[in-house]
Amino acid sequence: MNTSSITALPDIELKSPGAGLITLDPVRTALLRGLDDLLTGLAAQLSAPEVVGPPLLSVDGLARLDFFRNFPHLGVSAGRFGPDVLDGLASGGSPQDLPLQPTGHVLPSATCYGLLLSLEGADVGEDGLRLSAAGRCFRNETHYDGLRRLWGFHMREVLYLGTKDGATEHQARGGEFVQQVAGRLGLTLTRAAADDPFYDNGGSRARLMALDPVKYEYSAPDGTAIASVNRHRNFFGERLSIRAGSHGPAYSSCVAFGVERWVHAMILAHGTAEQALERLRAAVAGS
């Protein structure tokens, strides 16, 4: 993605529209775009074609992936005003307290869901399939915190579907890439087993994950997780009837980057957004 090299802004403040919502200034925007370009290098290394996922996901599809069982709190709904309130709104009435009608869709909370749902019934073959995509993702949180925890953020993912061994290898190569890019950018990251904020925390899934981690996070020195590698065993393959040729239900894994969090980690490591951008440009020029 080409980015304007002009990062100076007249003496104008870009106000935040609310908690968890930020308008990125030109320097942070240049960081976001430049970092996403760099992180897309994983897709190039792994020959993963770039696609654009859907902007909304069907609740029926997500329900089949246990999304609401696992994350009932996260989903940001796409509602719409019903016909009975349109006249009132059009004549200047306040939308604030009006009920919304469900559309059967929510905004994505992770980039890979839309890709996985698009592959329902597919056979990815013996060699498997990789896809790369970035999208804006949305999560209801109990609190928001600058670029560390936003209501909506960009998530870059490289997804693999194929064999069990292929999924493990994808996870391993993703982890190596994260550390390699971090090194080029002057970031020190800590790798640790992690679990998603499953609703059954302490329950069955959490116990199994403690014994057999399926997710590793890479965190900046202040504890902000900026990347993760995840494997799903054959869960999505089974639920969505995605096959890997004669291997049966596809195994899958993905590498995910929270791009605004990379911006945060760069500023944390290099002092200011301007210095972080200089470091990013030097890293890109030196590659």
């Binding site: 069955s204 116990r207 199994l208």
Partner: protein
């Protein structure tokens, strides 16, 4: 072991035929993560012994052969003290 096989078939109605003793129950999700604690309960019920999750590894649950050896074989119990899951039993 029949009870364990019956439980696995009940949870996986699409399964055809017997489950191989070396089949990976965890990776193939024959034991789904949502049912993992129920599986532990089943093993405790059959063996009459409680299982401390601090003292086991995932490999103890990975195959029917290992489950038999680690939790259901009385000789295995005698020779594999808790906390030494990697020591082969029997």
């Amino acid at each position: 072991m029949d009870q364990v096989s019956a439980w696995l078939h009940e949870k996986n109605p699409g399964l055809d035929g017997p489950i191989g003793v070396d089949e990976d129950l965890i990776e193939a999700r024959l034991i789904d993560s949502m049912d993992f604690l129920e599986f532990i309960d089943l093993l405790e019920e059959i063996s009459g012994t409680s299982i401390d999750l601090q003292e086991v590894t995932i490999d103890d649950f990975r195959t029917l052969a290992r489950v038999q050896e680690r939790f259901l074989d009385p000789a295995g119990h005698a020779e594999v003290p808790a906390g030494h899951a990697e020591v082969p039993a029997g």
